[in-house]
């Protein structure tokens, strides 16, 4: 069983979570080029590596960020968005 640690509720089986994708900074649509906007909208980076991703603990609706090595399938750390502000 894979375990994900919710920053609020502690370690839980990964079946209690859903994944919402890699965190990607949005370019300013008013000033960026069409190419960079299209890249943001349509393209995703599938290369393995350390990524920061949105995850949610379904039972408590807790949204948080997981720093995950997708090459080695390791969760390096999890934290609330506010903790990094």
């Amino acid at each position: 069983m894979k375990i994900m640690t919710c920053p609020f509720n502690g370690p839980r089986p990964v079946s209690e979570f859903f994944y919402w994708g890699e965190i990607r900074p949005m370019p300013d649509p008013a000033t960026c080029s069409d190419e960079s906007w299209a890249d943001y909208i349509f393209n995703r980076n599938g290369a393995p590596g350390v990524k920061q991703e949105w995850w949610c603990h379904i039972a408590s609706n807790t949204w948080f960020i997981a720093e995950r090595n997708t090459e080695k399938d390791l969760v390096l750390r999890t934290y609330l968005f506010e903790e990094e502000l």
Partner: protein, 215 residues
């Protein structure tokens, strides 16, 4: 007749011929006894329906201050709960979300008092079940990934987890020798969870019980 809370989400499933109903205190009816074997089932593995109790929910950045102004004692940390001295409980489900249950006058006060800025109502139409008995952990092994016995060590703790695929809120009542686990889930999942839990309970020698049989 207008009840302070709606009928149990599993009301129709409880309409068995032998059930004894309790409809006192202007609350929606609840099953006080399913049949004469309730005590035996409760000793092994009983599942009871607590959904008839009135409840209210509030959330938002102003919720803590607003509830304190109403004179309520609030749990100091997230994922914990406190009983009220005159019955009922208040649970803190996150930094700024609360569940209040059990005392009709208090629930009515919370629902009728004008809310302060930053206080938002949360519709609570939960199905609420109680689990008890010596084989309750065998049921948990089949339906849940969290060992609820950790609640017995810290009875003020609330757990938010998943049970048979349904998100549930769990706390422990009763005592250390005869713990009673109370579960809240979305009412629309109530019938599924009730049938799943009572089905497993029947395989283990227990089943659905009335509230009078709870320890």
């Amino acid at each position: 007749m207008k009840f302070p809370s709606p009928l149990s989400p599993i009301h129709d499933a409880l309409l068995t011929g032998a059930a004894v109903w309790n409809s006192a205190d202007s609350l929606p009816p609840s099953v006080s006894q399913f049949d004469a074997s309730d005590p035996q089932k409760a000793a092994l593995l009983g599942v009871a329906d607590h959904s008839h109790l009135p409840r209210a929910g509030v959330k938002g950045p102003g919720a803590t201050g607003w509830l304190a102004e109403l004179g309520l004692s609030l749990p100091s940390r997230s994922n914990s709960w406190l009983p009220f001295p005159d019955g009922g409980l208040i649970g803190r489900l996150g930094n700024t979300e609360y569940l209040i249950e059990g005392n009709a006058a208090r629930v009515a006060q919370i629902m009728q008092t004008p809310r302060a800025p930053g206080v938002y109502p949360v519709l609570r139409q939960d199905a609420v079940f109680a689990l008890c008995g010596s084989r309750v952990n065998e049921l948990l092994l089949q339906t849940c990934n969290v060992d609820f016995r950790c609640l017995v060590a810290d009875p003020t703790q609330l757990l938010l987890t998943s049970m048979a695929g349904v998100s549930v809120l769990v706390l422990v009542a009763g005592n250390k020798i005869h713990p009673v686990y109370r579960l809240w889930c979305d009412g629309t999942y109530g019938l599924y969870l009730w049938e799943t839990l009572t089905g497993i309970a029947e395989e283990l020698g227990g089943g659905g019980i009335g509230l009078d049989a709870l320890p």
